[in-house]
Symmetry: C2
């Protein structure tokens, strides 16, 4: 048994995973997966060990200790004195893993040559990443939204490689409504003249207007309508008059200023090509494909799986998590986050998520895990 080799704790590192062959038959040669980890590995890389694989959402990245800062760290729910928490940047992303903005083997950016990815392709890339690291089993995979979709696919593609899964704020497949609203976002980007058919990387321009428009739409699905209304209502943006005698794009309601800000912030930190590629993968999310449909696929699931939803989620309504819980072959538990925030509550309602993740680890490792020196005692058990 050889121990896996990790980069320094918390540091962004890059792993060559070789060629990724996509579900639809394309190839990404010499693919790279970026990752970060926190906490020391303990246990058997081929068997029981202390790895928690965290799956980020659409525009997230491998820095889980940042975006789940209240939940990952010493003494926190995902206690890094106990667990080895690993998070990769998804293939197709723009935070270190190979994506549309990366250099193509033949030169230039991948751009329009970048294949369409499914959620399964993302999981496949992650499996190759773990193989490259020398880890062939993890204790659990945990993720929300697009990360929840990957987590669910993990349980069906590689059930033998995990003890448990925590699937948060997602569905068994993209619904018609989700495909519609996600495609509206893709449309906002590809209608931007600076998109250049996806090959804008050499033009010196980025389709920022399109990406911002996409984000404004998306953000309204990430947030509950009651929370948005409580915060902004119909208030004018300070110093602007949205009730003037003529409509003007620069005379805004406060909510529009907020959405403009969300859009501008995303343009600064995210690549439009990755946004399109990953949104497309959400459209293709369907755990029933090639498995006899949704119900059969869920029924054949063997991995103890906890399902978590948010009561006010517009994007992945709670009935979709109820559907998962009714049909999963090995349901570990069900939890509801109660919040006006909507979909994003799995990122913002830290107190509730703290209890939920602690419960998940207690349920998935009821007798504790004892692999050796990484464990410092029982004091972190709840």
């Amino acid at each position: 048994m050889s121990y896996p080799t990790f980069a320094l704790e918390g540091e962004l590192a890059f792993t060559d995973i070789g060629t990724l062959r996509t579900e639809a038959g394309a190839e990404i040669p010499a693919a790279t997966i970026a990752y970060q980890h926190w906490g020391a590995f303990a246990g058997d890389p081929d068997g029981a060990n202390n790895v928690l694989l965290i799956e980020h959402a659409l525009t997230g990245d491998s820095d889980a200790a940042d975006w789940w800062g209240d939940l990952i760290g010493p003494g926190k729910a995902l206690d890094t004195t106990r667990w080895c928490v690993v998070c990769t940047n998804v293939i197709g992303g723009c935070k270190g893993s190979t994506g549309p903005a990366s250099e193509h083997p033949d030169g230039g950016a991948w751009g329009s040559r970048f294949p369409a990815l499914s959620i399964r392709d993302q999981v496949q890339a992650e499996k190759q990443f773990l193989d490259a690291l020398g880890i062939h089993r993890v204790h659990a995979v945990i993720g929300g939204s697009m990360g929840g979709a990957r987590t669910l696919e993990w349980t069906l593609l590689y059930p033998e490689k995990m003890d448990a899964a925590c699937v948060i704020a997602v569905s068994a497949r993209a619904s018609g409504w989700q495909i519609g609203i996600q495609t509206a976002q893709i449309s906002a980007i590809v209608r931007d003249p600076d998109w250049a058919g996806g090959d804008y990387y050499s033009t010196g321009k980025v389709p920022g207007d399109g990406l911002a428009a996409a984000r404004r739409i998306a953000h309204l699905t990430y947030r509950g309508e009651q929370e948005i209304d409580e915060r902004f209502g119909a208030q004018p943006q300070r110093g602007e008059n949205p009730l003037g005698p003529y409509r003007s794009d620069d005379q805004r309601f406060a909510v529009n200023s907020y959405l403009d800000y969300q859009g501008a912030r995303l343009v600064e930190r995210f690549d439009a090509g990755s946004y399109v590629a990953l949104t497309e993968s959400l459209n293709r999310h369907d755990i029933g494909r090639g498995r006899g449909g949704l119900i059969k696929a869920l029924a054949q699931s063997e991995v103890p799986t906890m399902v978590v939803g948010v009561d006010t989620d517009i994007l992945y309504p709670y009935h979709q998590q109820e559907h998962l819980s009714r049909n999963l072959g090995n349901l570990l538990a069900m939890a509801k986050v109660v919040s006006p925030v909507g979909h994003d509550a799995f990122l913002t309602e830290s107190r509730q998520m703290d209890r939920i993740l602690r419960n998940f680890l207690t349920l998935s490792a009821p007798d504790g895990l004892n692999f050796g020196p990484a464990y410092v005692g029982d004091e972190y058990y709840i």
Copy 2:
């Protein structure tokens, strides 16, 4: 007492309403309102009479006997052997009333010179229209969505001019979420290069791509997500492969083909300038403005008002109608349409709407109305 003069039953006719002065201080001189009516007028044009004023939604028009075809006509809920049903095209629209595409007094289309309208301006135009026709009171105003917003404003602007109101699938003011998603639609249009700052009418081009994109977003708020999913799920459009190795705009899921169709159909029948103007008026919907806030405004309402909502409405969630019902000063009744269809259910669930509108007329005219020859007996009472 002089009787009002109507055009022929069912025919589109046009009435000059003079100058409309908007709430924000602009003017539309020599404004025209298009209308249709069904059923003979009976009663006192200054007092009790049999006029039902129907208010259409955003992209509706005066042909209420078409878009509410199951509900308006002889023997139907809005029985045209009994009632004189009148429906105008909203000011700012493109179906005969003055709007951005109409000719400006100085020549050319109004375009960007067209003022921003509020819902109150729409009601004001309609009041001037009724004055021009010689009708100074109606039995009831009835409308859904943007038509519901106008109906609600009628009850506060001209309570002395009506016996009752039926307010369907709307709220007391635009919520932050509504303003956000509506502005996303405006943004889709004004980002279209063919929009030309709103002055495209002389260019020979129309911002059709933008208008279609706006409609695709809007339609996802008009329909319940469960209905959309039941109809389309993740099915591919016939003859297309949305799961191919590369993403392509012409390889679609069925839901996207459906949304493209809805967009294309709107481009054929509707003007982008009107769409922007009327969507802007929805952003400005706020019955509390200048009336001491929402609660005070609702409390001072004197008109017996029936409130109707749809249980699965994403755009105007049912809690908004509950809010109206809790706070209206003179609540006549409350009714819930139960349907997977969402917001549009007030247009599609004819059987439920039939019962609701019959109940509304029974409640609002409990002793019947007896004005003379237009009435043929009691057999239509429920």
